[in-house]
Amino acid sequence: MIEFETFTLDNGLRVIHHYDSLKSSAVLNILYNVGARDESKDKTGFAHLFEHLMFGGSENIPEYDGPLQEAGGQNNAFTTNDLTNYYIQVPVENIETAFWLESDRMKKLNFSQKSLDVQIGVVIEEFKQRYLNQPYGQAFMHIRSNAYKKHPYQWPTIGKEIAHIEEAKLADVVGFFAKFYVPNNAIACVAGNVSLERTKELFNKWFSDISAGGVNKNKYPQEEKQTQPRRFIAPQANSQKAIYLAFHSCSRKDKAFYTLDLISDILSNGKNSVFYRKLVDEENIFTNIDAYVGEELDPSLFYISGKIAANITVEKAESSLWNVIETFKSTAPSESDLARRKNKLITARKYQETDLLNKAMALCMAENMGNINLVNTEADYYNLVSVDDIKAQSNNILTKENCTTVVYDKVTQ
């Protein structure tokens, strides 16, 4: 159970307070309602590039990281397709430093061409490191660009191509900040040994004079129902053959998400999962195989990915995989199998609730989904999932016409 209080500043900044008297550090987490889905088609990767620029100093604080390091704190950020999240963890006695830093950069970022030029270079190296210089590194780019034809989920947060990052202009940076980095488009959470009164005092002191702006309405072109299988072949010279399946599924906010999450666990979590037992252990078709559900706020994807054993063709692997999927759809898991998965999920959630930063982020995410109480009620939703739900959802989602397949096959040298 994560206890919390909420209040909203006059400028629209939503604030969450979580008190934990046992921790010596405190967290200030700020979530901005802007992600890669808010980019235009020809300027992809911008939300993530902008995240980098947020560390380049602000109007009154030329260097962001230094003062925090002096206060014994740490920070980082991440961008997803839906949101951008910034966090600071600092010894509780120095928590005001976090307020000072975060409020000043929300008030006015220090825009500079030099900072933009350097961060363009850094992000391009990140692009190469994570996506281009790795076997299978572009798999999810291929999946997204084939599975989505209208929705901006068709590109990853790093961007569609390096050229988009290279072409970013300072004017774009200024416009993006003015449009999205406003208090009424953000959610803040303080977690730790900081009283509610002190929290209110600090937010009033540091954030209340920041002007409100427009709120991101989160309207995006919706994807039409996929009715035919889609396929992309990605040639690969030396690495192991691999196959990726992606099925259109549901939003993270949809109740069906909990069923799909459990389906992914039953199919692939551990050596006693359906896929491992049949396709790895028994038939030696794959050396490893996973299933996982995307957590985006608009309708997301359900993924299956496997590395194919050396002497097995892609065709054989694919047909064997589909045989197991079809069998799973027609014969639902046993009650005990479902119970085992639920028990593991409950343990995992209890572990997540022991970490201060995890709690702060979970609270902001739940609030951003429109219902902060989800942090405490999601375990119940998992418990309510029945064997019949598993069967219905797997039959609904795991179909060939709803599937985008990406295959890594060896090319002849």
Binding site: G66, V122, G270, N343
Partner: protein, 424 residues
């Protein structure tokens, strides 16, 4: 609204202090060295540690096999039954190893862990490593190796380790032959006669359900904790300490470097942590400032310390823009000189120190912090006051002492450098 707020002035900052804590003692419980830490959170952890690790492996890959197959079945129970039983108890599990220890960890809730522990212990102690499971493991490792050989990071790291260590068992694998050579008999022999020794257990949780019935089997394991801690042997440094591996199709160049550091017990270890932090140990370090923030040549480059009781290494790692290797080498050398001469940005020393102190203090907020810190004291033969002394030593370290330590241990010529990427 407070209109007179002066945002250019930082709020006052307080000195970072260590939370109150006490290392818990290891005591004999049910005939086994045991460390128990009560916990307020609704989670529990149970570790079984054998005081033997990579250095005592009879063949390369032995502990990787143990790690992958320790729940693969016993004479009386199949793998799927063991896993199903543990899952029903909401348990997670794992095996980890380092130079001198091997640890099996079980996570669950305080209410269920005492039920999961006997299943876990039985599976570990009586593992039979079925031939078909071993074959699957070998096939998987060989396939994974095939992918790894495409990665500049893997190639650079492996080559760097192989050039650095002289001890044959620490030479990393670049051939699937090593996996083919592993036999079930050799694995069983290692498990029965060598791995299961000098056992100790560590558990944390608010349930006192552990009893002789739960952990009694462990008391039958021989204990001879007087064994000296083994140390790896290091190759002699060569005049040319840089080797490049050509990978023409690579998009970036990976750089990995290693030199001898200090063991945790060495009096200079805390000061070396501070020197390393200034050099490349945090976001504001000399390496990150120069190569990422000023030049934009990498997403990240860092240096880090790895330390056991009596042995440690200093490691540099990063993935860089391929045509700029020479500039990156020059930058590393320049920043080491700046570190030795004290010619770096005013204030960096205090930032690095406070970053480290804040990081240590924060580590006590972790759920199993007291368990882990007490365990470290026991397994690495440290003093009960080690953690306090470590914190205070960093706090007390002067700029002059930090520079002297860097001059003694952080030298460009002491590193073995390996780069992997296209020829430039």
């Amino acid at each position: 609204m407070i209109k007179s707020l002066n945002r250019s002035i930082a709020p006052p900052q307080q000195t970072i202090s260590l939370p109150n804590f006490k290392v818990h003692p290891v005591i004999k419980t049910f005939g086994v060295d045991t460390l128990h830490v009560p916990l307020l959170d609704d989670v529990a952890r149970f570790d079984i540690v054998f005081k033997t690790g990579v250095l005592e492996q009879p063949f390369i890959g032995a502990l990787e096999c143990i790690q992958a197959l320790f729940l693969a079945g016993t004479e009386n129970k199949k793998e799927e039954d063991i896993l199903d039983e543990l899952d029903m108890l909401g348990a997670y599990y794992g095996c980890d190893f380092n130079l001198n220890t091997t640890t099996f960890t079980l996570y669950s809730t305080p209410q269920l862990i005492y039920k999961a522990a006997p299943i876990f212990i039985d599976a570990i102690l009586n593992a039979t490593f079925p031939e078909e499971k071993l074959k699957l493991f070998k096939d998987r490792k060989k396939a994974s190796l095939q992918s790894n050989l495409e990665k500049t990071t893997y190639l650079a790291k492996t080559k760097c380790n192989n050039l650095f260590y002289k001890t044959p068992i620490l030479k990393e694998q670049l051939s699937s032959q090593n996996y083919d050579n592993i036999s079930r008999e050799a694995l069983l022999n290692y498990h029965q006669n060598h791995l299961k020794q000098n056992v100790s257990i560590y558990y944390s949780g608010n349930y006192k359900g552990f009893s002789d019935d739960v952990i009694g089997e462990l008391s039958k394991i021989s204990c001879n904790t007087t064994n000296a801690t083994l140390l790896p042997q290091i190759e002699k440094l060569r005049p040319n300490n840089h080797e490049h591996l050509n990978k023409a199709d690579a998009i970036q160049t990976s750089i990995r470097a290693k030199s001898v550091g200090l063991g945790r017990k060495h009096i200079d270890y805390p000061k070396l942590q501070l020197s390393n932090a200034v050099f490349g140990g945090f976001f504001g370090s000399l390496l990150m400032k120069n190569i990422r923030e000023d030049k934009g040549l990498t997403y990240g480059i860092s240096s880090s310390l790895s330390a056991e009781e009596l042995f440690g290494t200093i490691n540099i790692q990063g993935d860089i823009k391929s045509n700029y290797i020479d500039i990156v080498f020059e930058s590393i050398s320049t920043e080491l000189k700046a570190l030795h001469n004290g010619t770096f940005e005013k204030g960096l020393f205090e930032k690095a120190k406070n970053y480290l102190l804040g990081n240590i203090a924060k580590s006590f907020d972790e759920t199993f912090a007291i368990l882990d810190k007490s365990k470290l004291v026991y397994l690495q033969n440290l003093s009960e006051t080690y953690h306090h002394a470590y914190f205070e030593a960093i706090k007390a370290c002067s700029l002059h002492e930090m520079i002297e330590t860097a001059q003694a241990y952080l030298n460009f010529e002491s590193f073995i450098f390996v780069t992997c990427g296209p020829e430039t």
